[in-house]
Symmetry: C2
Subunit: 147 residues, 2 copies
Amino acid sequence: MMDAKNIERVMPIGSLSDRTGVKVETIRYYEQVGLLPQPERSGGNQRRYGRAHVERLAFIKHARDLGFPVDGIRALLRLSDNPGMACDEAHAISVAHLDDVRHKIARLRSLEKELERIAATCSGGVTACDCAIIEALADHSQCRKEH
Amino acid sequence: MMDAKNIERVMPIGSLSDRTGVKVETIRYYEQVGLLPQPERSGGNQRRYGRAHVERLAFIKHARDLGFPVDGIRALLRLSDNPGMACDEAHAISVAHLDDVRHKIARLRSLEKELERIAATCSGGVTACDCAIIEALADHSQCRKEH
DNA sequence: TCTTGAACCTCAAGTGGCTACAGATCGTAT
DNA sequence: ATACGATCTGTAGCCACTTGAGGTTCAAGA
């Protein structure tokens, strides 16, 4: 490979993928939906990336790993492109996302409790019963609380 | 309405929807993917449901509310249709799902921590800075642990 | 009996965030 | 010159629905 030397301006998509851990198809998808700018092309129409693309894609990947939706990332990228009045809105986006994550956690914890209860009603191995798990699913009123 | 009296065998899809809390479109979708059996039709080709459908759909809704995937529900329904050797498999499906839920919780908790940290770096209101939130997203190495 | 108008019908496409495939072209090492 | 992997475009698929268009049926009121 020639990755180490010629990283500037001539990186093909596979190298960008290797460096960021984002799959080739996903990179093209991000370009298509406007998260990544269109790169220059080689004579044979292949994408060629530079350092700026690596940084932007790393930003995107990090935000996706943190669960930000693509729309939120688009907004964050816009803010990072013209700094200045960025803080307020970036903070709002992050807090909204944190809120969302906490709601999901709360909901999953309540599901966890209910599933524990249901799974415990029947430990398997019972052969001739009308399975308690299936009955529990059929009868919502057995549940401790709403979900 | 005539819901109260004529629930047996003549319920139209809207009443089934009202009774179960499952949207009309979703009911048709469940029929299409084979979760709900095809009901009888009126002279004018409209679906007519009876008590058995209400029960089956309630089962499906409850399981969906608990986060079971449609394939898991299909398996559970098959088990509930021919009881007997149901317990073992039902238990396995539930435990696998519980496991999945716990993994999701663990992942979200770690995201929550990281987001708290990032959101705290900048409380908004700062006007002239290169926003710390955006910097944190750009620089993964600031994170406490992998995600 | 006729007329509304809500409820119902089918079929197709859109959602998010990719992933996978098919079939063609490019780039480079030998 | 050739072989082979990397890349290209475009399309379809994934899950579990949701939305929309454009048409039909049903039940209640005049």
